[in-house]
């Protein structure tokens, strides 16, 4: 069976393998799928009855207001956090070392990871949206233009988060320290990026810090999808800022790719 080896086909095969592996780890699947749903539930219950709205026009309730934030932070959790931690583990347990000993093209490996993340991320968001609509009566957008915005925000955000997660996986010195090194900074980022608060309520210096990072832009992009346009005036700049959002998410994606290519290690630091 002498067949030509195509990087694209190996990438597809890896994506399917990775996705199967992911869904076989039941506990991790259950927790990461339920987390955003439960967070949304808590917000809906705790702030139930409170509204967010512009000075003129009807407000929306908190469950609806926080839905885009949960979607955005779900994307970051699935892409950045999952990959940063799982790659640190794969580097330690020898998965990466074994792969490096084969002629598998590295790009196929990375694309396989990204493919898996795209599938997992979409299923998580689908579950979150379904629960939001059914249990909390959130109205989902119907205009195709909104879903188009969702599509590009999702792809840029997920791909960027994935490559940054892959790059960041070299930071923890061991698999044991990985979750501490990864989860902490991401949690801080979620707080300052307007996932858990109305971004406007943050002091402006924190807003400026958050604006450097992709999550703030991703959350803003998702607000433009899931909130009615009359809430656009609540944004700091009174605009959804689609242009800057696309630009900054793309810059992070490119930066992540460059860092990956230059710094990726297939072995532990002390093994070589």
């Amino acid at each position: 069976m002498s067949t030509a080896v195509s990087p694209a086909r190996i990438a597809m095969s890896r994506a399917s393998l990775e996705t199967r592996s992911y869904f076989r780890e039941r506990d991790s699947v259950i927790f990461s799928f339920l987390f955003p749903v439960i967070m949304l539930g808590i917000f809906a219950v705790v702030f139930g009855g409170e509204d967010v709205g512009p000075s003129s026009g009807a407000p929306v309730d908190f469950a609806q207001y926080f839905l885009p934030g949960m979607v955005a932070s779900g994307i970051m959790l699935v892409s950045f956090q999952t990959l940063a931690i799982s790659l640190a583990i794969e580097r330690e347990d020898g998965t990466l070392k074994r792969l490096r000993g084969t002629p598998m093209p590295p790009v196929s490996y990375f694309l396989g990871k990204v493919g898996m993340i795209l599938v997992v991320g979409l299923s998580q968001i689908a579950l979150l949206l379904a629960v939001a609509a059914v249990a909390f009566g959130v109205e989902l957008p119907t205009e195709p233009s909104k879903w188009l915005t969702f599509a590009w925000c999702y792809v840029l955000g997920t791909a960027g988060g994935a490559v940054l997660g892959i790059a960041y996986s070299s930071v923890p010195r061991s698999a044991k320290s990985a979750s501490a090194v990864v989860v902490g900074p991401l949690l801080v980022l979620q707080f300052i990026s307007g996932v858990f608060f109305v971004f406007n309520d943050l002091p402006s210096w924190l807003q400026n810090v958050a604006s450097v990072f992709p999550l703030k832009w991703l959350a803003q992009g998702m607000r433009s999808v899931f909130l009615p346009d009359r809430l656009e005036t609540l944004e700091v700049s009174a605009s959804w800022q689609h242009g800057p959002t696309a630009l900054i998410l793309s810059l992070w994606l490119i930066a992540g790719l460059v860092i990956c290519v230059r710094t990726f290690r297939w072995q532990r630091r002390d093994d070589g």
């Binding site: 002498s2 030509a4 080896v5 093209p105």
Partner: protein, 288 residues
Amino acid sequence: MTTSAIRVRGLRKAYAGVTAVSGLDLDVAHGEVFALLGPNGAGKTTTVEILEGYRRRDAGEVSVLGADPARPDAGWRARIGIVLQSSGGHDELTVQELVHHFAGYYPGARDPDDVIAAVGLDEKRATRARHLSGGQRRRLDVALGILGNPELLFLDEPTTGFDPEARREFWALITSLADGGTTIVLTTHYLDEAEQLAGRVGVIAGGRIVALDTPDRLGGRDHDLAVVRWSEDGRQRTERTAEPTALVAQLAGRLGGEVPGLIVSRATLEDVYLRLIGQPEQTLEVVS
């Protein structure tokens, strides 16, 4: 085009000041089965992983299949099979999935089902790697190592954890690969394994090769005196001689036919090995 599959000259490697390999020379011919023996920490894995392209060397010339392993490319990797001393991962995937998937990496892969059968994992096809026993996991490592039909196969302590029957089956597998022309470099702590499989054995100690020969000539084993033991007058007698046949004939004459309790032996590979790495021989005193 070099004539040897592997050529090493003056190889050196230190870790944070600790020398692991200090001036090692080695040639392995195409089609040869070469075994590297040596105590724990001798530098076997370090040497082999430098040849595989995993570790950087500090000094020395290395050529593996005509290329420098410090600059490996996919074409070179496809010609090499690797079984690491320890490897893991891909825990949630089954034997069947893994072997079929890895086969897709190689342009001239063997039939994955044949490979699964060859390593004796037929009954474990549907089992996830996580649930394999230690020896079964090792067989999976071997399966993935030979899958690409490599020209050159590295095996770092491949049979650790194998039961005796599995070890025999593995030997048969390696012998058939060697018969098919595969060059094989293996490290092992089992002297019988080296004797069974290898055309040549290198003993490495303190980061250099201290002896290099065929298993039956290693360390002057073929020139060793034979040891003849027999019972006479109710006592155990032992004599070392260069001419055991003559001695036995003489004994047969003197004792009138069958010599009671006759044993003729030579130093085992293990005796020679222990002598080479500076440990006292033990076996000669044990037999009663």
